[in-house]
């Protein structure tokens, strides 16, 4: 496979086809816990992105050293160390964000997507591919977190990206929008069941788009086979 095709395939897998949430149905625990608002989703997504990229890179780099018999303890050790590192650094340098997300950072360690990528991809692939895969998987996860957070925030409170300036700095205040003014609020969407319901809607949406794409592709392949058979 040519190099650029490999990278494109990894990107397509991470962002859409084999997306952590939509494709693999992994990481639902942190997903539902933090997506009350789009801002929290973004913070959690970025933290996961950093950790999964670093863990993929480290594991790929040392993949020849790691005997298959003890690979799981080593993966867990590496991921736990990275998560603790992010936890400490965030507490020191991004303290406001840490107060919002602190509880959930430790949850990254239980995020099976990280171990999943380490086992299924990083331990078998060269470093460059593994880093790219971590970046794309993390980005795909972030996008889902933000989408779910935004959908829940709008339906629950009528706002979007509330407190984003706490996370990204004062210059991002423009992100904070009140979508529906004088909204009475819809409590269910802010609670965990609301997360499940909204996630179901998003997954249905993804399936519908896939179906559309598949049906649109089909006539084209038919046409090609007809031409070649003639």
């Amino acid at each position: 496979m040519p190099l650029s095709t490999t990278y494109r395939k990894i990107a397509a897998d991470g962002l859409w086809n084999n997306n952590v949430v939509f494709g693999q149905n992994l990481a639902l625990c942190p997903l539902l816990a933090v997506t009350g608002t789009a801002t929290n989703g973004l913070g959690m997504g970025l933290a996961t992105l950093v950790v999964i990229t670093a863990s993929n890179g480290l594991i790929s780099l040392t993949r020849h050293l790691i005997p298959p018999e003890i690979r799981i303890p080593i993966f867990v050790l590496l991921i736990a160390a990275l998560v603790t590192l992010v936890d400490i650094l965030m507490n020191a340098w991004a303290h406001e964000l840490y107060k919002v997300l602190g509880l959930f950072i430790a949850l990254i360690v239980t995020n099976c997507a990280l171990l999943g990528r380490a086992e299924a991809f990083a331990s078998k692939q060269p470093v460059k591919h593994a880093l790219w895969d971590g970046l794309m998987m993390g980005l795909g996860f972030t996008l889902v977190l933000v989408a779910l957070g935004a959908a829940r925030e709008i339906t629950a409170a009528g706002t979007l990206f509330a407190n984003a300036s706490l996370l990204l700095g004062k210059s991002f205040e423009f992100l904070e929008v009140t979508v529906i003014s004088d909204y009475k609020g819809f409590l269910l969407m802010a609670l965990p069941p609301g997360g499940f319901i909204m996630l179901a809607f998003l997954i249905v949406g993804k399936r519908l788009i896939d179906q559309q794409l598949a049906t649109r592709k089909q006539p084209l392949t038919h046409a090609i086979t007809e031409i070649t058979s003639e």
Partner: protein, 236 residues
């Protein structure tokens, strides 16, 4: 120190030898032979553990001071919520008394009371306390009192109450918590220290009674704690 060129060539040569050895050793085919060996597996696991703990140790040491400063800033911010800056000219974080508080069910065995002074005169007391029995877990609060035991202010630091119902205890969401201002054990009877539903003077929320009820009870207990030790504070 004078560097002998002879030593330098020796060093360069040995580094080259070491590099070549490491390269051969790290060759995938060589590592493949090593991997099934038990002593190699032990060594690898130990090596990873050592590296991880080293990394974490260094990070912990280098960020410890910063984290402590951040926590002190947090504390200062919550104290400033209930004791306005105009009331004191001392560093409240340094001017403290620690009192035993286990019997008052305020979430901890000891409570640190911060003393505000202006021109050496005590103007206010301030301490954190916890309602351990909120609707969904502990509600951490901070209270400021004037020297006679009247409430200057109560604020919620953090909680896990139901968003949209119980979270009206936050000053950002509603004015409910300001209703405590000015009250003390002296100007309300024991029965009045309750939500209206229980015959007291404080509002409950539509759809959430437990959160305000437990908050009022915890504030009442914190006043009792203050009362029990008031004599000690004046000495300071």
């Amino acid at each position: 120190m004078i560097i002998d060129p002879k030593h330098l060539t020796w060093l360069v040569k040995n580094i080259a030898i070491g590099k070549a050895f490491l390269k051969r050793w790290l060759e995938p085919s060589h590592l493949e032979q090593l991997r099934p060996k038990l002593e190699f597996q032990t060594g690898v696991l130990a090596g990873f553990a050592l590296l991880a703990s080293l990394l974490l140790g260094v990070t912990n040491c280098s960020t410890k001071g910063t984290i402590e400063r951040r926590l002190a800033e947090d504390l200062q911010k919550s104290l400033a919520e209930v004791v306005p800056a105009s009331l004191h000219d001392n560093d409240m974080l340094q001017d403290t008394v620690t009192i035993p508080s286990a019997e008052f069910n305020l979430g901890s065995g000891e409570t640190t009371v911060y003393i505000a002074r202006k021109a050496e005169q005590i103007t206010a007391f301030c301490f954190k306390f916890t309602a351990p029995d909120g609707y969904s877990g502990a509600i951490n609060m901070v209270i400021g009192l004037d020297p006679d035991g009247n409430i200057l202010g109560v604020r919620v630091i953090n909680h896990a109450e139901t968003p949209g119902l119980g979270d009206k205890i936050e000053v950002a969401k509603s004015n409910w918590i300001l209703a405590f201002n000015g009250y003390s054990l002296a100007n309300l009877t024991r029965d009045q220290w309750a939500v209206k539903k229980d015959g007291g003077v404080f509002d409950q929320f539509a759809g959430a009674t437990i959160t305000p009820r437990k908050s009022v009870q915890a504030v009442y207990r914190s006043l009792q704690l203050f009362n029990a030790h008031q004599a000690e504070f004046v000495k300071h």
